[in-house]
């Protein structure tokens, strides 16, 4: 096994799936010659040629729409949108077509595509480069939303997403792209969709997060230095959500903190709290607490630290919930 960061592990997953299945094609802005703005697709053009690694015109709706057509006619396109903030242009295509083609043709036409895009703040980027608006997609029946948290997870989840028969929005945490290296196997490695991962077991409290928030949660726990026995759940797939894993854990611990990078209101965190309310209310020793960004526009880099969730806020939420 080789140590790699998430950029490298995603690249490996793409390369291996393209080798395994000739119907897998990549398309997006700068994915070819340039290897992508984050170099995620580096070397793939040389390996697979211009027919399968397509530098497209600069048009996100077109990328999504063309990928949908490809998927309807037997290809498995993996489309890249350079930043989630540019992905809003794909919404009409993803919501009106990708998400419902299977239903409206009663299964005759399907859209097995992946829309990859880096998401999230904490990297002092330009305007519109720090979005985490996953809830725009999780609200849509027919779309799957997957968020890896580590290099190994990214390889397994992306491989499963490419093989999935339904459209997947694959959100890559920009901040985690090069943050951590871990051992990633070459060859067959998949992580099933819609199955959360228990990062660590515990009995006092459940902390739920995904993507770039997982390292922040781990830092918070480090700073608590074993004061509480916390169970950490990495959701991996936000939709369809693994409710069972959440309910199982909360029934065991009786306390829950959800950490969501996105603005607080109407987000995935609220959905998790609602499900706990429906299925584990009587197990709760304290209200479910949400650690989330405020409902404001993400500040530009000078103000970003006010906005971005660090370990301190997670730590105090855990302490509040434990002392309720």
């Amino acid at each position: 096994m080789v140590m790699m960061n998430m950029v490298q592990s995603i690249n490996l997953a793409l390369r291996e799936e393209m080798e395994r299945d000739t119907s897998v094609v990549l398309l997006g802005e700068d994915v070819g010659v340039d290897g992508g703005v984050f170099r995620v697709t580096e070397g793939l053009l040389d390996r697979f040629g211009t027919e399968r690694v397509i530098d497209t015109p600069l048009a996100e709706a077109g990328i999504a729409g063309v990928a949908i057509g490809m998927a309807m006619n037997g290809l498995r396109p993996v489309a890249e949108v350079q930043f989630m903030g540019f992905g809003y242009l794909t919404l009409n295509q993803m919501i009106c077509h990708a998400a419902r083609m299977r239903n409206r043709t009663r299964g005759r036409l399907t859209v097995p595509m992946v829309l990859r895009t880096p998401y999230g703040a904490g990297v002092k980027a330009l305007e519109h480069h720090s979005e985490s608006t996953e809830a725009l997609f999780t609200q849509i029946p027919g779309l799957k939303v997957v968020v890896p948290s580590t290099p190994l997870e990214a390889k397994g989840l992306l491989t499963s997403s490419i093989r999935d028969p339904d459209p997947v929005i694959f959100l890559e945490p920009t901040r985690s792209y090069r943050m951590l290296k871990e051992e990633v196997p070459s060859g067959e490695y998949t992580v099933p969709l819609s199955q959360a991962r228990v990062v660590q077991e515990g009995i006092d409290l459940t902390v739920i997060g995904w993507g770039a928030m997982i390292p922040q949660i781990q830092k918070a726990l480090d700073s608590l230095a074993g004061k509480f026995s916390c169970e950490v759940l990495d959701l991996r797939t936000l939709s369809p959500l693994d409710s069972n894993a959440i309910i199982r854990s909360v029934k065991k611990t009786g306390r829950c903190v959800v950490v969501q990078e996105a603005p607080k209101s109407f987000g995935v965190g609220a959905e998790i709290a609602a499900r706990i309310n429906e299925k584990a209310l009587l197990s709760l020793e304290a209200p479910v607490e949400r650690v989330a960004a405020p409902d404001i526009t993400i500040p530009l880099p000078k103000g970003e630290d006010y906005y971005y969730i660090g370990p301190e806020r997670i730590k105090s939420a855990i302490e509040r919930t434990m002392s309720f």
């Binding site: 729409g65 309807m72 036409l109 369809p240």
Partner: protein
Amino acid sequence: MLVDDFDPLKGKRLEILRKDGSVNKKLEPKIDDDILLKAYRTMVLTRVADEKAVKLQRQGRLGAYPPTKGQEASQIGPALAMGPNDWLVWAFRELGGLIYRGVPLWRLYLYWMGNEEGSSYPEGVHATPSVVPVGSQVPHAVGIAYAAKQRKEDTAVVCFFGDGGTSEGDFHEGLNFAGVMRTPNVFICQNNQWAISVPRERQTASKTIAQKAVAYGFPGIQVDGNDVLALYVATKEALERARKGEGPTLIESYTYRMGDHTTSDDATRYRLEKELLEWADRDPIARFRVYLTNRGLWGEEKEKALLEEVSATVEEEVKKAESFPRPTFEDCFRHTFATMPEDLREQMEALRRELPTGRE
């Protein structure tokens, strides 16, 4: 090549079958008699089926419906030119083309009656479902064509949209991608002069829609949209170019919507009777009938028999659509994903218990 001889920037428009049914001999295509007769039958069937759909809507037996009257040649001409494996990507006013390509009429009725089963076409019919968000099907046609090309299939993709659709970003992005990728696409704009109440001149300051192709780096041609022979010839040439790897073509089918935008619309609010009468005089079916008669293929008795046969067919298709079972409760959940997520199954069961008796 036609696209060289009929440059839209020089104000040229391809016309072969004139409104009085006479024909430009120099441009007249050689089409087998049985194909001509099949085309004529489909045009008449489309007219009758369309009028029936409007009646059904008025009787509350079918939902909102976009009448296609006057645009039969515009849809069936291209369909004549298509190969068996070619795809038809359509908007929502292409009834004739779909019938000719083998989509059963009863399924199309079923769709407009509000049943998704109407968009589940038979195996081997390469067509996408109706697209309501205007113009958004254009990039799909490019992706479908790219996939066909990548697999070295001898398949081209014909994509329909309206004059209103050309104002949408998806039209621009789709045609731009197609030009760059040189995909085997034929884009057909059914310019029926009106996008609900907005006339063509308010849609674009371009003199023609065909000329927009110039900017995308491929040929465009304006064709008399009520002339089934002109549509056939232009599409055939475009498809040949597509199959040879010479890229896409934009065909502007200059036609007219004789009916309302949909059954919910009242076109008398925005357009004049005079215009309608002028276009009635250019009817695509009437002139084709004269052509067939002049070729000795048609006559009054045949016409009478055809109308009877077609009317009976339409009634049969309506019966099939109306007797098709409504979707089951499970049907509405089943096709959200390939495998139903556990939470969705739970929602389904919970809702089933809550539905008033008899709703299921």
